[in-house]
């Protein structure tokens, strides 16, 4: 039989399993987790610290894999996600499910045995939150999906802190709040310029359901509590001036970009430059703030 007469089903390549873990999203998760750990007052042995960060990365990767397993039908309808291993047909769904569950279990068990049970418990909670609350429950049902689901991405600094100290304190809770409140303006800025893609897939993203104007207002509104969560650690005495000044300056810039997005409407053939700028800046913003909170503990 010739190759042309039947489809050759190849076992998935290891690179496809790597792609299933959403490595780009993982970098932010690992970074915020690491900074949460470095900001903690208790030192952790480098080997155990490395293990904790590895577990956070594995947990995030597993959650990403389970997200792609569940959303293969949605991913096949969006240009941005069509080339992922499942919609592109490079991997079968069962392999993705087994990989996701296996890596999730490994990450939580390793964290519990090697680091501590508090960090393992929060890691498990974050995986379940992302997969069950965000992916399965909210994403297809409500335009507020990413508001609640954003909490899943906010757990890493808490996990990093808990890995070092064995408990949870006000500073990592504020860092959790910062990422949680940062997610809506960050994601809705993206949703504004990939609106058509989400509409085609039938995902009830805010611009699709409530319209462009309501989305822009929400971006502006969420920026207010986000700014409070970002700056609060300084006046509360949880960080020094290094973090405080960085937070004030970078948050002011975020607010300017957010107001620009909140107070305009896109016309015909609009290039959506302010929205793209807010989206791009929001990523740098979070990196800078988390780097500052760690630097503040070590340098100040």
């Amino acid at each position: 039989m010739s190759v042309a007469n039947h489809a050759l089903i190849l076992p998935a390549d290891w690179r496809d399993f790597l792609a299933l873990t959403k490595p780009r999203v993982m970098t932010l998760v690992v970074f915020t987790g690491l900074c949460g750990m470095l900001a903690a007052p208790a030192p952790i042995h480098p080997v155990l610290g490395f293990t904790a960060i590895l577990c956070i990365a594995l947990g995030a990767g597993a959650a990403g894999a389970l997200n792609q397993w569940y959303e293969a039908d949605l991913d096949s309808k969006m240009k941005r996600t069509q080339s992922r291993p499942l919609p592109a047909g490079r991997m079968d769904r069962q392999s993705a499910l087994h990989f996701g569950v296996g890596v999730a279990a490994l990450s939580v068990i390793l964290m519990g045995l090697a680091v501590n049970y508090v960090a393992a418990g929060i890691l498990l909670l974050s995986i379940l939150f992302y997969v069950l609350v965000y992916t399965v429950w909210l994403k297809r049902r409500t335009p507020q999906n990413i508001v609640i689901g954003g909490a899943a991405g906010a757990f890493p600094p808490l996990i990093g802190w808990a890995a070092a100290t064995g408990d949870v304190a006000l500073l990592p809770v504020l860092l959790f709040g910062l990422v949680f409140l940062w997610t809506p303006p960050h994601f809705w800025a993206l949703a504004l310029f990939v609106k058509t893609d989400y509409a085609n897939a039938g995902v009830p993203m805010l611009p699709v359901v409530a319209g462009e104007k309501a989305t822009r207002i929400q971006i502006g509104l969420y920026t207010i509590p986000m700014a409070i969560a970002a700056i609060a650690p300084w006046p509360l005495g949880l960080t020094g001036a290094l973090y405080g000044v960085t937070a004030v300056v970078t948050t002011a810039l975020f607010a300017i970009f957010a107001v620009q997005v909140a107070t305009r409407m896109a016309g015909e053939g609009d290039t959506m430059k302010p929205e793209k700028r807010l989206f791009a800046y929001s990523i740098s913003y979070l990196f800078i703030l988390f780097a500052a909170v760690a630097a503040d503990r070590w340098l100040a």
Binding site: M1, S2, V3, L8, L10, P11, D13, W14, H45, V47, L48, T51, L54, L113, A114, V115, N116, Y117, G166
Partner: protein, 48 residues
């Protein structure tokens, strides 16, 4: 399956097996390092 197809599948399986072997080796090294750190520091192996 033609011999050419079989060769492609075998090559894919070999590539996956190599990566799996490396990951397992890295895991063994990690568990060994964790054990050494915990024993040296007198940390209970199961829970701090």
């Amino acid at each position: 399956m033609t011999p050419e197809e079989e060769e492609i599948v075998r090559a894919r399986q070999k590539s996956r097996s190599r990566v799996m072997a490396l990951l397992l080796l890295a895991f063994v090294v990690l568990v060994f390092a964790i054990s050494i750190v915990k024993i040296s520091a007198g940390i209970p192996v199961m829970q701090r």
